[in-house]
Symmetry: C2
Subunit: 424 residues, 2 copies
């Protein structure tokens, strides 16, 4: 749809000023100057509005949204074996679909326009992503010991990817070996080989907990980073989720190999894993992105919450107020994520870029005064300021009303699913 | 007003179940059973509603709300001398009033019903508190070197307190010596004497930064906690804000003297001061409360944000998911604060308690599923779920519409004030 956003506050090139933005089909077709012959089907008055690039949640498991709060404040193994796994094991594809739908609703309402997902029920998430209108990068969780050419799971995943509906380019795919403790070395090497052959990126959990480090050191004599590199994974663009427990030489290796790191502050704290060395990784030149992880360990998919955590905790950890500032935080939550996911024209407000935008209402206490809106976005907004969410030029929410999804039905199904699965 | 809230989810005695709540004038007059002869002027359908005790923000500086974002991501001394102080020094009483009004609007919208304030413009905050309908505990920031009986500031403050309108008991007062570095020992001893004479509580910043510790050690050979104790401050009920940098023996001393500690996680991280040893202080038996501090160092007064920070960061710091759980967090944000402030019948949903309540809308993704709403409150809510805020039996917000305040006027004045003061 052709949309004109007139004279709004807009975050362009790291600065917030008044601009008009012209959207033609799925793209930003002009800034401050409409393209020739442009006719707006819809005009949005930008008077009390702030337009930002749509937020990129660079690591999540959307189907887990209904698992939020099921096993909080418990030791990790109880959380996993008594909370998450019993539900996960009894989820049907339909359950996973409604779970993913709950996640989509939450993401759209908080201005997230792209998410990078790892999951088992690839068709469910794909269906939900297609219906919601969100931009999605999907990887199927791959788990195994030994790889051979006929490995069912990888073959299946590849087949699904190539045959899947990509919703006009909104849905792309990666390979998702789960983690060093669930993807054996030979298997991982096989995955890396396929990634190289097929030109696919890899998305993997790495160096999340101390137990992972200790076990791998004992079994393989390697850090998780060295393990993934040795298997050849870093020979393709690689997205490493977590990296909480990394050594200086791990950081050096990741920087050298161009690995992108997704930090997930809420999840890392909630599971008692601590704080990733984001400052150090950033200084080493690593592309740092931001993610919520799944709702079971967060317990929200609200990237505004995550931005505020990111900007605050590293000041606390490093004993300085000058660390991971507002501008860096927003970059990590937008353009850096898009870059990691291989979405070349996503994550910025710039002519030719995809029309993925979040529009915030400034008539709310958290956004007043307006003298430093960049700070407001990170330090005082809570996500509920998002009035309108646009992906690929399509309005997914306006006036906080979801346009593509039936919120009532999603809430009903997600709630009733857990009434059943919670007893499983 | 007599209000009946019918068959809502309600947090009572640490558990969330379905209940009906009957409000008569300023009090909770019945739970599940209306008092004799009760006639509701208003009935609230609790079907998709969660009622919680109104939240107690136990340490803030409300007039600073328009100072959010003015000097973020700067070294502490620049933040203070180039950001906060120039604005503070040029603020008139009217500016402080509009600043406090912005804070009130933000607090009401996030379910805060009581706040504990320290400030210079006591009449401005008092006026704003009176008009907003919030419950307020006010202390004037007291600063000086030597105390003598005619000390102008304390005398003034006491006079203001005794003469001030207390809005049917909604507004109470404390003494607020600012901090060890701004209240000299003799002065502080004078304040403590007055507190004892007048039966007043003391509210003070203590042990916030390493610089404060180092300077006081050099000058007095004491920790901030020892300093306040030696001046006699702990002989009255004492509310210590921050306590980030405390020793084991400080903790022991505070526990022994019944000091309440207000932790302010966002502010402590944002200014690079680190993480208060909340787990240790709690284990020592100290009454821990939660506060936002002023907006200049937070940058929001949203206690839901603060609750989530509190519950998450100490898991990260202590490397365990079992630390400061959801129930404890809510206690720290409600009843513990009320107890510290000497508000004996505030902070709980119980017959005879003040009708200070926040009612959340459950028809939103962050509150679904409903299988563990206690967790949702702390880990997935962001404050925007609050639909209705009631203080002293009066509805201050309903359907997210402010009832006592003119939001548009407040936002206009707060924004334009900073256009002027930002250039001061």
């Amino acid at each position: 749809m052709n949309i004109a956003i007139k004279n709004a506050y807009a975050l362009i090139g790291g600065k917030i000023d008044r601009h008009s933005i012209y959207i033609e089909k799925d793209k930003i077709a002009g800034i401050d100057k409409a393209p020739e012959g442009f006719r707006a089907k819809k005009v949005i008055d930008g008077e009390n509005r702030l337009v930002i690039p749509g937020i990129v949640n660079a690591h999540t498991h959307s189907y887990m949204a209904p698992m939020r709060n099921i096993a909080d404040d418990l030791p990790f193994m109880e959380w996993l074996t008594k909370g998450v796994e019993p539900v996960e094991n009894s989820m049907t594809d339909e359950d996973a679909y409604w779970g993913a739908m709950l996640a989509m609703a939450e993401m759209i309402r908080c201005g997230t326009t792209t998410f990078n997902d790892m999951h088992m029920h690839i068709f469910s998430t794909q269906k939900a992503a297609k219906e919601s209108g969100l931009r999605a990068v999907l990887s199927r969780g791959l788990v195994g010991d030994k790889y051979n050419k006929s490995d069912r799971r990888i073959t299946e995943a590849l087949k699904e990817m190539s045959e899947g509906d990509n919703a006009n380019g909104r849905i792309t795919y990666m390979l998702g070996p789960h983690a060093p403790y669930s993807a054996g070395f030979d298997y991982l090497r096989g995955v890396a080989d396929i990634a190289k052959e097929q030109g696919l990126r890899i998305h993997m959990h790495l160096a999340e907990s101390q137990a992972e480090i200790d076990n791998l050191k004992k079994e393989q004599g390697l850090t998780p980073i060295e393990y993934a590199d040795k298997a050849g994974c870093f020979d393709v663009p690689f997205i490493a989720a977590h990296c909480v427990k990394v050594t200086d030489s791990d950081i050096e290796l990741m920087a050298k190999k161009g690995v992108s790191v997704v930090t997930n502050p809420a999840s890392n704290m909630k599971l008692g894993n601590g704080f990733a060395p984001v400052k150090k990784m950033k200084e080493a030149g690593i592309n740092i992105c931001l993610g919520t992880d799944g709702a079971a360990s967060n317990n929200t998919l609200n990237m505004f919450h995550e931005m505020s955590l990111l900007a605050l905790i590293h000041k606390g950890v490093n004993d300085t107020p000058v660390c991971i500032g507002a501008e860096e935080t927003i970059e990590m939550a937008t353009i850096n994520g898009a870059r990691a996911l291989g979405l070349d024209n996503v994550g910025k407000i710039e002519e030719g870029y995809k029309a993925d935008l979040a529009i915030l209402d400034l008539n709310t206490p958290s956004m007043v005064p307006r003298n430093s809106l960049l700070s407001s976005l990170v330090y005082s907004a809570n996500g509920s300021e998002v009035d309108t969410t646009i992906v690929n030029g399509e309005i997914l929410m306006e006036g906080r009303e979801l346009k593509t999804l039936d919120l009532e039905k999603i809430l009903y199904n997600a709630d009733h699913m857990m009434e059943r699965l919670g007893k499983a």
